[in-house]
Symmetry: C2
Subunit: 350 residues, 2 copies
């Protein structure tokens, strides 16, 4: 566990005030590489310059991550936090079926953080930028009276007729999801447990043993940039699309609201990894609840015309969960035993 | 003063938890108007959609404002804070000589704030959007464990050959500034004084008397979107450009660093409003220091070829402060008495 803990002072660590914010920004942005031809100018001026891509439309989103709300730096390594911040931004772009291209970061940081801590965070940022081929083109660093607050602005593009929003789902269409759900949430539970154990006895090292997958899903999530080409392969663009950042239950509700429809999901169909089931049982949590309310899976939830079902049936990256209904039919979860539940009740009563 | 103070609970105020973040976002974004034809889709999806403008390049910047660092809500009205946040973002776009078009906001907010407080903040946001013709196209609202942290992402565009950065200043060029400097800083001092008086005796109402201009410069700043057409009128685009958000001393230093040059400024030439001089004398602050270190003026600092001096001499919106030198000549301020000071020394030793 100790290596995951933020060091509280000690040899060789530099208070940010010692070098100043300007020098800090220079340190964390000197090695910035531009991979996108649309990036005309990045960090270092009042604003970044981005060239239009002929025939493409831009998509832009912004997200905040707040210490004590979205992350706990006592067990969440700063490098992974930087990585996850970028992934969260990219995931919003992917959720429009666009290609992520640039990001801008904001960092409000309290005096307890050192220059080395910020460098650690940016190592993760740069690693994610490299993995996804996006350019860090701007940002802001400022002091904070509280903890650490991070903002990410993500920019992407695609031809207008490829972009997919939340409003296009229609009755009878199939509701699908990429990957499996609930693992990031169980990873968080695992980290919380190890934190408690560590606090009681700092001599005990954490044992993530058989649950490495859950840990990875929490501290090094992935944005599904691969799905766009999978849609191409099966020969269809989804009619609606959203990323699963808040949990299946919340996100399908948002999609249904935006499209003015209802849904019918089958609990049997929700893809849940065996590690999630096993640890959930240990923790006495309902695995379905992990998928519905856990969040941070960054998988994609989307709708496809039912006529295309034979094209993606059995596809390893696509699970069919149910179908779209009329709005007045509500948002329904059909349980393992065949009982119908209103989705929002199932999300809180277990 | 009382009307400037945030209410701590009381009749008719709604805790955010009572309606939830989704309903809050709906409340503050229902009346959003789009004025830019490039805005294809705004708030309500994973990302906003923005159409390319033929022949134009995009500029994007992001800024953070943190309670207790950048603002004090005990005397800074939330409506004005929202307005100022948008202006700060727009000013970065203007500092590239681009036209501001879209903004995205992030809001991390603690439990002490009510739904009504957030609505107040957004009234200011919407007012600024209307004043500057920009579209609020996205954002994020989340809870915070500390106070209020705000992020703004500002997007603008212009033909590539009209965009101006910080790197183009060359030896012999004239250093110019729009408007007057130091007033926002003195406005802040004024508010701090009235806060102290109010705390000692809440019965005393604040008296901003003869200093209304200073107060306005602090709580309702303006971005110099008008300067671009002034540049057109005098028939030249600046060789370098930066907005004065950190104070003349810091911002000219940033411009010199980026351009690899030095500067020679004349204290006599720094435009300072009589109200600033008067209150600075009362407060025993050097008025020049207000201009050099105060910040938040959101005026533009720019360089022009000396051959054009007759074209803008006497222009009411342009003051010539000095000229660009070689980097090795340093950043020099020539004082009223004709003495030469290194600029950074003058910024802290008074």
């Amino acid at each position: 566990m100790s290596s995951l803990l933020k060091k509280e002072g000690g040899d060789g660590l530099t208070p940010i005030g010692q070098i100043g914010v300007a020098a800090l920004i220079e340190r964390i942005t000197t090695n910035v590489v531009h991979r996108q031809t649309s990036t005309r100018q990045g960090v270092g001026d009042d604003a970044a310059r981005i060239q239009s891509i002929p025939g493409e439309e831009w998509v832009v989103s912004t997200d905040l991550m707040v210490e004590g709300v979205h992350f706990d730096t006592t067990y969440f390594p700063l490098r992974h936090l930087g990585y996850k911040l970028v992934v969260a931004g990219i995931s919003d772009v992917v959720a429009m079926n666009a290609v992520p291209r640039q990001i801008l970061l904001g960092l409000a940081i309290s005096a307890k953080y050192t220059v080395e801590a910020v460098e650690e965070l940016y190592k993760g940022v740069h690693a994610a930028c490299a993995d996804y081929g996006v350019d860090l083109v701007g940002g802001d660093v400022t002091s904070s009276t509280g903890g650490l607050t991070l903002s990410v602005t993500a920019i992407g593009s695609a031809p207008a007729d490829r972009l997919v929003g939340r409003t296009g789902a229609r009755k009878g269409e199939l509701i699908c999801v990429s990957g499996d759900l609930g693992a990031a949430f169980m990873g968080l539970n695992l980290l919380e447990r190890e934190k408690r154990i560590y606090r009681e006895d700092p001599g005990i090292q954490p044992d993530f043993g058989a649950y490495e997958y859950l840990l990875q899903r929490q501290i090094r999530p992935a944005a599904r940039t691969d799905m766009s080409s999978i849609f191409d392969t099966i020969g269809c663009i989804p009619t609606s699309l959203i990323d699963l950042s808040s949990g299946l239950g919340h996100d399908i509700a948002a999609l249904c609201r935006a499209s003015g429809v209802g849904c019918r999901l089958y609990e049997d169909r929700i893809p849940i990894d065996p590690q999630v089931r096993e640890l959930a049982t240990q923790f006495q949590i309902d695995p379905t609840l992990c998928a519905l309310s856990g969040g941070e899976d960054y998988e994609l939830l989307f709708t496809l015309p039912s006529s295309l079902s034979d094209k993606f049936e059995g596809h390893p990256d696509i699970c069919m969960l149910g179908y779209i209904t009329d709005a007045e039919d509500g948002q329904i979860l059909v349980s393992h035993s065949g009982q119908e539940h209103e989705l929002h009740r199932r999300m809180y009563t277990h």
